[in-house]
């Protein structure tokens, strides 16, 4: 009897000892605590409607009673989740090489500027616009990488500086394609329909939501590709080694500087494509007077850490972050600020800082129990 109990307990513990399981538990905890703190904030703002408000955030498009409308707005959430996923992958890929790519926000801006400029000013088709975004984002990444590899500049600070430089540059460049009456760039669909990403019939799945394009499945495919590159290739072996043991990587003859720059190029390209995935759907227009860097790149940080630094986990995490961000926009604006969703995301990032400690705590408890059990058996 007791032997059997021991056995099931041991099984339970061995499941708990698995890194993937621990990551999932940690992420779920972060979400629950993050939502709870968000709920408290809502209570403080206005206790009466707080419960309804938090449910609204969590429900997002499910607040629509008709299935068709829900599907349509589900499409909208997915349209924005795709670029978020790309930004998250950008940050994650660099993080594996030991680089904190906070410059993803600026690389995203660069991608937006390049794709819109090529589409609206130069009249290029969508695939060329995508390539332009890739290159622009990549070059912004390379700048950070070069400064890091050859001049030892902290990538976080240079990344932030480039975010602002990128924002003002793109504002300047896109001024040439803005509507005369508003600060927004001209409509993509009307100016150059060939630059709109193809839908391949996907929009039919979402009640003819015209913004649903191949961007969504492409982002998921890219996430899987990143997973493959990281875990199965020589390049992944090298960048992970560089990330966790820089000196050992150098000792074994890996080209550290080249890898840093290449990693940031890929990271930048991912963020740049992410921007094209949004702006080439026509869902949003760029405002050339905006004075703050778009939050997409920063939300990517939340998604990547919430996803347990795993590309597959990040797919779900990106969706979740976008889900609550979109949910925030359904709040009654005259009672609750929609930024409560950003607040919850930020809390979740903060909580992710404790994940390592949590895993360490879990592992040492499992170890202790194991030792005690072994000691008892002797």
């Amino acid at each position: 009897m007791s032997a059997q109990v021991n056995k099931t307990m041991a099984e339970k513990e061995s499941i708990l000892a698995k890194p993937a399981v621990q990551s999932i538990i940690a992420s779920l905890l972060c979400i629950v605590v993050g939502l709870f703190i968000g709920y408290i904030a809502l209570l403080l703002i206005n206790a009466e409607g707080a419960t309804e408000a938090i449910i609204t955030i969590i429900k997002n498009y499910f607040t629509y009673p008709s299935k068709a409308a829900a599907l349509k707005y589900c499409g909208n959430t997915l349209v924005k989740a795709a670029p978020l996923l790309m930004c998250a992958l950008s940050i994650q890929f660099c993080y594996q090489a030991g680089l904190f790519n906070i410059g993803a926000a600026g690389q995203y801006v660069a991608g937006a500027g390049a794709s819109l400029f090529c589409a609206l000013k130069l009249g290029m088709p969508w695939y060329l616009c995508l390539v332009a975004a890739l290159i622009a984002g990549g070059l912004f990444g390379v700048a950070v990488g070069f400064l890091k590899a050859y001049l030892n500049v902290n990538e976080v600070i240079s990344g932030i500086m480039l975010n602002w430089i990128g924002l003002y540059t793109v504002n300047m460049i896109l001024s040439s394609v803005k509507e005369s009456a508003s600060p927004y760039t001209v409509s993509l669909e009307k100016t150059n329909a060939a630059a709109v990403l193809p839908s391949l019939g996907l929009q039919k799945l979402f009640s003819n939501n015209k913004y649903v394009t191949i961007a969504i499945p492409l982002a998921v495919i890219i996430a899987i590709l990143i997973k493959v590159v990281l875990s199965m290739t020589v390049f992944g072996y090298e960048i992970k080694a560089t990330g966790i043991a820089k000196d050992a990587a150098k000792y074994s003859g890996m080209k550290e500087k080249r890898n840093i720059i290449l990693t940031l190029f890929i990271g930048g390209a991912l963020a740049g494509i992410g921007a094209a995935f949004l702006f080439l759907t026509g869902y949003e227009q760029w405002s050339v007077t905006q004075s703050s860097v778009p939050g997409m790149g920063f939300n990517g940080i939340a998604a990547t850490f919430l996803g347990g630094l795993d590309p597959i986990g990040t797919i779900f995490a990106s969706y979740f972050i976008q889900h609550i961000t979109s949910g925030g926009s359904y709040l009654d604006k005259n009672v609750y600020p929609s930024q409560i969703s950003d607040f919850i995301s930020a809390i979740i990032i903060y909580l992710c800082g404790f994940v390592l400690f949590f895993k360490f705590f879990l592992n040492s408890r499992i170890k202790n129990k194991k030792n005690n059990a072994e000691g008892g058996n002797k």
Partner: protein, 519 residues
């Protein structure tokens, strides 16, 4: 008053009685007893891993012992943290100095016990006391010099002054001679004797028998966590101490057959390597050869340019002038990878920093120098995980690398000896023309040391070249075919181990003598 009287009656300054400290799966100290008499120099002898540092951690309150008591002046005391130990007048010179590099000597000494007036530091008071102390005990230092600018010997004197400044009565020296020149060692021995004469009680942790014989009054021996015994130095000899430490007679002098060296494998001409830490050159205009079938050893005190010499050879650091040839091929400007694939293997000095990706599995680490070869990766750039696993299993078997989960073990969780074995397996299995081994036995127990020596000699016997960098004279004398002594970045002497003596090498290592060396 009553208390001081009791204290004065005790013969012992500090006693650790029946200390037992267990860690999961291991008993680090098993009923260990050490009694330090007032005014004596008491050696604590044991191999790496014998439990010396655990015992000291217990004394300093970093660990709490499960059993046993600590007594100060005959009275039982409770030590819960390093501050308690400080309050009891116990001070320690750590093996790795605890000095802030960019602070002055004075700042380091007063740190933690500063004198202040109106909130401002009163450095003049401290300077006066330091000057007095350094004169009294013959500890020459410049209080205003920065630590990063002074010699290791002076840094050690700063550490000693730190204890004296705090009026510590019980002084612990943890392997203090490892980083010193022979002349500095003599000086330290003299300082220790002076301190004992002034009534300080000294615990001297070491595994060097000759030093213990020359300075200690008594010696306690630990082996694998167990207390073996305490002997009076005047009534014992090195052989007995050695037996107590290791538990059997060991032939530390490795046996190897005579062999005539063949062709030149490594040819170094006028090599100069800059220093990372300072603005001068760490290796100055060095020339030498290593040939097939010989073990050439670079001997010297730590920090005389050996590290940079190897960095220059392996490509971790760019050389500023000179020429390096490997098997007749010019590799002066070759990348690290090119050197490795041209037949150079390198067992690095710091196995945690350079030798292993600690968070990778053992299998991944075993292919760290070869993962890009067609055997382990496809043309498309994918790793052949099956092949890597198979290869790792082969090396694990062949080199007897022990770990909890075989090839899948995360390297960080392995013991130091097995980590080193993994590196050696990886580097030797590449079948290099030249094997560079830097302090390959550091921090390992006797069994592992013997194993590594056998591997190096086997390479030589198979007709390959081996370049060994070692700080241990005993190792240098026993396994090398030729000895090159390095001092302040230069090669100052070449010797045949059969015709030289450790004493003679010591003179060259300390810079007292030199002769021309060149290939």
């Amino acid at each position: 008053m009553e208390e001081t009287k009791v204290a004065d009656n005790s013969e012992y300054a500090i006693e650790m009685l029946g200390i037992t400290k267990r860690f999961p799966g291991i008993i680090a100290n098993d009923n260990v007893t050490i009694q330090l008499k007032k005014g004596e120099i008491h050696a604590l002898l044991g191999e790496n891993g014998a439990g010396k540092s655990t015992l000291m951690s217990v004394l300093f309150g970093l660990y709490q012992a499960e059993e046993g008591v600590i007594k100060k002046d005959g009275k039982e005391v409770q030590i819960n943290n390093p501050n308690d130990a400080n309050d009891l007048g116990i001070g320690m010179v750590h093996q790795h100095f605890k000095l802030v590099q960019c602070f002055s000597v004075l700042d380091n000494i007063i740190l933690g016990v500063e004198t202040v007036k109106n909130g401002l530091l009163q450095k003049d008071v401290a300077r006066k006391k330091i000057t007095e102390l350094s004169e009294k005990y013959g500890l020459k230092v410049d209080p205003d010099a920065k630590i990063e600018d002074i010699t290791v010997g002076m840094q050690q004197r700063t550490e000693i002054l730190k204890m004296l400044y705090r009026d510590n009565e019980i002084l612990i020296f943890d392997e203090p001679t490892a980083v010193l020149t022979p002349a500095e060692i003599d000086e330290l021995m003299q300082i220790m004797k002076n301190l004992a004469k002034e009534g300080k009680s000294i615990l001297f942790i070491s595994h060097k028998l000759a030093e213990i014989m020359s300075v200690a009054d008594r010696c306690s021996v630990l082996r694998r966590g167990k207390y073996i015994g305490t002997v009076n130095i005047s009534e014992t000899n090195q052989e007995e101490l050695s037996r107590m430490m290791i538990g059997r007679d060991v032939q530390l002098v490795a046996t190897k057959e005579d062999k005539t060296p063949g062709n030149v494998i490594l040819h170094v001409e006028n090599m100069t390597v800059p220093s990372k830490l300072h603005h001068n050159n760490a290796v100055k205009n060095v020339s030498f050869d290593v040939r097939e079938g010989e073990i050439v050893c670079i001997a010297g005190i730590d920090g005389n340019g050996q590290t940079e010499l190897v960095y220059g050879l392996s490509g971790l650091e760019n050389i500023t002038s000179g020429k390096i040839e490997l098997s007749g091929k010019d590799i002066t400007h070759a990348s690290i990878r090119e050197r490795s694939t041209s037949g150079m293997s390198h067992i690095p000095e710091d196995r945690h920093k350079h030798g292993l990706v600690l968070d990778y599995s053992l299998a991944y680490n075993l292919v760290l120098q070869r993962y890009f070869e067609p055997e382990f990766s496809s043309k498309a750039g994918f790793l052949k995980k099956g092949e890597i696993k198979k290869y790792a299993d082969k090396l694990i078997e062949q080199y007897d690398i022990r770990s909890s989960q075989g090839a899948d073990t995360i390297s960080r969780s392995m013991s130091g000896g097995n980590q080193q074995k993994a590196i050696i397996a990886r580097e030797i299995d590449k079948d290099p023309n030249l094997l560079i081994a830097v302090q390959p036995t550091r921090g390992l127990d006797v069994g592992a040391i013997e194993y590594i020596h056998r591997q190096l000699i086997a390479r030589r016997d198979e007709g390959h070249a081996v370049l060994l960098v070692s700080l241990e004279l005993e190792e240098v004398m026993s396994i090398s075919d030729r000895i090159l002594v390095m001092y302040e970045g230069e090669l100052v002497g070449e010797f045949d181990p059969k015709t030289t003596t450790p004493e003679e090498l010591g003179l060259y290592m300390a810079g007292a003598k030199r002769k021309e060396v060149g290939a």
